[in-house]
Symmetry: C2
Subunit: 126 residues, 2 copies
């Protein structure tokens, strides 16, 4: 599910300059630094206690079958680009290609340490 870049009434209802509804984040486009679209947000993983979004699960349907493969990317590695109307990943393409990835039906989050392994890959652990 993709959102048009142009604002429409439906988007306005659930979006302000600074806030976006969770069910609108899902489907938002994800770009690399060159402005190429890499995929779209499948969902986000939220810390139940703090309410902080820890990971964005990006569906990279383009290169391995539509919607069948997911990358969890730490929130800190994404920046919102209001001109593009989507998120930019601050990770070199070659680093992304080898990133932890899973297919639909796999359950990596059952492992409480999965998030940490993602952080490790992106160099976010001290």
């Amino acid at each position: 599910m993709e959102r048009p870049l142009q604002q429409n009434a439906d988007v306005e209802a659930d979006e302000t300059a600074s806030l976006i509804a969770s069910d609108k984040v899902e489907g938002t486009s994800v770009y690399n630094h060159s402005g190429e679209k890499l995929g779209s947000v499948h969902n986000v993983m939220i810390n139940k206690i703090s309410g902080q979004v820890s990971y964005v699960v990006v569906s990279f349907g383009g290169f391995l079958g539509i919607g069948s493969e997911y990358n969890a990317v730490p929130w800190k590695k994404l920046t919102f680009n209001s001109t593009m109307g989507g998120y930019e990943i601050d990770v070199p393409p070659e680093r992304l290609q080898g990133a932890p990835r899973y297919a639909a039906g796999e359950e990596p989050w059952v492992d409480p340490l999965y998030g940490r392994s993602v952080d490790d890959y992106y160099g976010l652990t001290p």
Copy 2:
């Protein structure tokens, strides 16, 4: 859409001890201090820049028509109760009854100051 309190394979796939997927938060039950179910999470409003969940939009379908009325509650006023498998609202019932509320189709978030008015109501502004 409600989640059964008992864990099932589908919930496990998108949930760890500390993280929950955005599309699983949607539908999570919301209780008062007495353990009475007040409604369920319609969606959450996320700060696009920080990734912090600022407001939980609770659908109080029970008393004014199913799914037709929403209350935005500041994240800080909710605590996750893992025994109940849902969120508890730290607000007296009488305070909740007069809380800012809108119907399906209304677009309060178009006003960038709407969040602040919610904070004001719940006494979160200095």
